[in-house]
Point group: C3
Chain length 362, copies 3
């Protein structure tokens, strides 16, 4: 990118003090910025840097009164922090979508419909009957199978693999190495101990505004006409496993290395931490919060719970139980001492075995 200070000030609704025709190529922290870069000053603790910064321009508050002479140009705004964040977002969008055109060699099959301002990187592969909307960026070595449909403003990072029939909405980002539409893990046991493959004929639907990390896998649904569905606004991290026929509700966020087994339906606005395992055929209510490494073996029907454990239950109760778990050797010792006190010495020594049979029937 390259903008003048005046252009940036106009974008932010700010006013310029100094040379507004200077060119800005990058954003930087005030203590590290160099000529051609723009920084911001919000926290007064950083004020000293503004008198020595190399930045061509600094975004400051309308109320800022310099205590020393300045060499940098100022852009005055209401809230320097949000203005800078806005610039970062715009900058990120610009660099994310800057690639365009077709690099060769790349492959595209028959009967494809392709929108405006597309990037098709070298060694990318697009099958037959594929539809791509506007501003779709297909990075190098990406695979798009037959009959895939992709909306507008979608970025497929290098090496993404979309199996035939996958559907992706608008404004989605999928990171490198992620596989969408691979076969569900379905095998029918046979009398001789072998397994027969259950054909996996459904697809995957990714709705709008979904972000998916790197090396994640989403399997297709089993039956023809069925779909594994990732709803609008879902954010998935890296190395996640989403099995066949799973549905993930709107605005649910899932951290890395979590796995969701077949046919489970996850509600909206869940926050699921990393390395969680969720069994198959469950229903998880809206607004559930699941702690890292938890194992979910039963449906969660009540909304808004925070759970942890293996299997998971209420997170506060888990930590209370776990704090006693750490002291179990001491508890066990105290119990034996009590038994000796109550029953007489050594009476308890055989109790473990003596009661084990009854125990089974508790």
């Amino acid at each position: 990118m390259e903008f003048t200070v005046n252009q940036i000030a106009a974008m932010l609704g700010g006013t310029v003090e100094g040379n507004g025709s200077l060119k800005i190529k990058m954003l930087a922290k005030i203590q590290e910025a160099k000529p051609g870069q723009i920084a911001f000053l919000s926290n007064p603790r950083y004020e000293n840097y503004i008198y020595t910064t190399g930045a061509s321009a600094v975004i400051v508050s309308k109320q800022f009164i310099p205590r020393k002479p300045l060499t940098t140009t100022l852009i005055r705004v209401d809230d320097p922090y949000s203005s800078f964040t806005l610039l970062l977002e715009e900058y990120h969008k610009l660099i994310s979508f800057q690639k365009s055109g077709i690099e060769e060699p790349s492959f595209i099959g028959a009967n494809c419909t392709v929108g405006k301002n597309i990037y098709r990187g070298a060694f990318s592969y697009i099958g037959n009957n594929v539809t791509l909307g506007d501003n779709v960026k297909v990075y190098p070595q990406t695979f798009i199978g037959d009959n895939v449909v992709i909306g507008n403003n979608v970025i497929l990072h290098p090496g993404v693999k979309l199996y035939a029939g996958t559907r992706i909405g608008n404004n989605c980002v999928i990171h490198s190495g992620t596989v969408i539409g691979s076969d569900g893990f379905g095998f029918a046991p046979q009398p001789d101990g072998t397994y027969k493959t259950i054909p996996q004929l459904g697809n995957v639907i990714i709705e709008d505004d979904v972000v998916i990390g790197a090396n994640t896998v989403i399997d297709c649904a089993t039956l023809m006409g069925d779909s594994t569905i990732i709803r609008k606004g879902v954010k998935l991290d890296n190395l996640i496993q989403v099995a066949h026929n799973v549905e993930i509700g709107r605005n649910t966020v899932i951290a890395a290395q979590t796995g969701i087994s077949g046919s489970t339906k996850i509600g909206e606005n869940n926050v699921i931490a990393g390395q969680v395992g969720i069994a198959g055929h469950l229903v998880i209510a809206n607004n559930t919060s699941i702690g890292a490494q938890s194992g979910i073996s039963k449906s969660i029907r009540e909304e808004g719970q925070k759970i942890l454990g293996y299997p998971a239950f209420d997170i506060k109760e888990y930590f209370r139980a776990y704090s006693v778990f750490k002291k179990l050797p001491s508890l066990s010792y105290r119990l034996r001492k009590l038994e000796e006190a109550v029953y007489g010495h050594k009476a308890s020594a055989v109790s473990d075995n003596a009661h084990s049979e009854e125990n089974l029937n508790e």
Copy 2:
């Protein structure tokens, strides 16, 4: 695919009632089927759909007696459900193996032997001295290293990576992004705290009828001449880690995100759930069933056990212990109350620390 109703009836050993020359392109559920599609009716609960279905043909039982007029053609068979399943399997096979020929650009090295009816997708790479059997489908962006040998009827989905020397049997399917033959994780600690790489010179052998999911990794064996071995009929899900020198016995099924450490030998007909971790140099007996997220730190010598936990033990005992774990704060409280009752008030307050030393020597 495109078959006439008569052709499908012949394949199923069924009889046609209606127009047998209609063309069928797809399978569908009876409630959703359109012209050109075939459905089935097995469960009487769905009978009403047959009078309104758009399907060109419906597979029904020989005993089926319509209660209303029909517009669809019937194929009568003994068991409509299994006939439809058979059709699904045939359809799946057809679409799986339908790609053939060579897309350009693709790369093939010197001295390769290639069977009949091969597909080599664009940007696929085949090294030197590679042998491919008949009906091998090498999808785009797949890598096959030098000296790899692959049997008949093998599908390598887009982006599979086979390191040099890998051997794959017949009727195998490997999904996108899976890596086979990468270096085992072997490093020798040096006196200065650094690690020296232990050369990994073995390979991976995949026997017949193995299915491997997406983004799974199988490392090669350490020593030249040794192999990491996946036996006949094994099914591996997505994102699984199989370390160097592991052997997985026949017809064992392993769910997603499970990891198996170096040199462990897993028996036949195991059922291993997701996110299980198995330590190195263990032996797991045949017919073992391991629950999700379990940690296996010792060999399992007795066949047919069902285990769970971290470390894992008998699954029923685990759940019994875990049900008490949840009540530990209450148990702890009751134990203290008992101590007060038996020893006198506050006597137990110091017991945790008082006995901790002895505890270490229990």
Copy 3:
């Protein structure tokens, strides 16, 4: 490779007995070796094989006195085992770095600087302003984004993806499918329940002597100018998740499927087992050893600890607590019996509920 026995003896500082002009192409075990191969004899238990081996040469100790006639040539050294290990390492290096030149089609952008003895495999992609040192091996289907800098003697196995701006030192090996520099998982919750993407503008720095397994993911840092850093000598296994702004200290070794959350700093010479989960914003001291599947939810400040559990604590204490956990049903039963003895029959039946309120305030 192809060397004469004399050349190998010179490399090992050994002396030849027999035909030093024989050609050696491979290393093998003494019991399996064929003509053209070299083996070693160290353990006297294997001595019998030396009289029948097909090996062209065998490395033996200076002290070895044959008890029968030999047909193989000998190389006498001080320590046959270390000499053979050295040969294995040299052989491994040779085959690892043997590929060179440019296979077509491959892609390279503008303004790239490329060292000597490079391999650029077919379908590899190198963006603009990329710097590659000497002996860099870019295997097929690898992606190197704009502005990436790579040192000398680096191997990028097939399908590695390096996002723009990644920096890699000398003597690194990265295995297939690994993704470096993907976006950190950062989303700001909005009042309407949706999430806004926090731009990820930093990069990843990999220092010298780092080895990374297959299908691992390392995210970039969030802020421009910041880096996720993997220090010198670190070894990472397969399918590991390293989140944004993580730093992994020198010579730390991490096994497969472990995940490290954002901004955590891991010390030097840690040994972290497989499937461990480490929460965000923590500090882990040097020389920490973390057992498999552990969950780390708090910083570890004291060096040299060995921990395990979920959350993790001292490994010996964990196992002691866990051994009692297994007996919890029996403990619970014994506690009830004691209550009956002390309080009178059935007195304890209501204790769980009666005290639950107080419990919360313990």
